[in-house]
Symmetry: C2
DNA sequence: ATAACTGTATATAATAGATATATACAGTTG
DNA sequence: CAACTGTATATATCTATTATATACAGTTAT
């Protein structure tokens, strides 16, 4: 498990940990039920407080990427791909909702929006 | 010029002023070159600092809704409707850009997105 | 010209939210 | 029981947002 903290990066430590582990899960470098380093050992490695690693793990758990067994450890959860897909579909729907509102205020028809969409998708 | 400040509203005072004036311009209640109340008299009416009313006016000016003549006053600007339309079109394009990225990551085709869009627009 | 108004610029106070932490706790394992 | 696991609560620090006061400079009407 390689995690690099970049202090110049602007984004908070917990977020860097969160993203890097998430990416390793998505890319397949970490597989279902693989154990993650304990929040304390990872914190020791990175020389930060374990509360910060816990926060990263909390985020990962809230989003369904890992599961926790108290007093034992944290593990990669199943069906991440489905979960990610659902997440993205929901975001698409939110964007569409916004577009519908804006299009109405602009007097744009469905076809107008579709042609904008088609134009964007051809690149 | 009627402006109401709602302290329970959560949104900051300068933003409430900004939105209400913007809405009055959009609705046509305020017309091109109409004078706005001076930042100081409005502040007096609302019993707040004139710095706060200035901030609201600054926002309105930055977005092109009003123009200012120093030492004279602030006035409703022209071509707001075109400007608003451009703004909204740009926002639509941004949303479309996001959708394109998300759709690619989900393996959604152009037609899939269109049918989602069509579904949403029929309500 | 001067009093009363306009907007401007700079500096500052107050608050809230985000970030990172320490410490004390409770369960698991060998 | 020693050494590990994650949990819960409280706290410190910092930053961005919000609102402000004060001093300044131009315009207008008397």
């Amino acid at each position: 498990m390689n995690i690099f903290i970049d202090n110049k990066s602007g984004s908070p430590i917990y977020d860097q940990i969160y993203s890097q582990i998430k990416n390793q899960i998505i890319s397949g470098a970490l597989k279902e039920d693989d154990p993650l380093p304990s929040i304390r050992s990872l914190a020791r490695d990175l020389r930060i407080s374990f509360i910060t690693t816990k926060r990263a793990y909390d985020e990962l758990e809230k989003e369904g990427f890992i599961y926790t067994i108290p007093a034992k450890g944290c593990y990669v959860a199943q069906k991440n791909i489905e979960l990610l897909r659902e997440e993205k579909l929901q975001k698409i729907e939110e964007h569409i909702g916004e577009i519908v509102k804006l299009a109405a205020a602009c007097n744009l028809s469905r076809d107008d929006v579709i042609s904008m969409l088609t134009f964007e998708m051809e690149e």
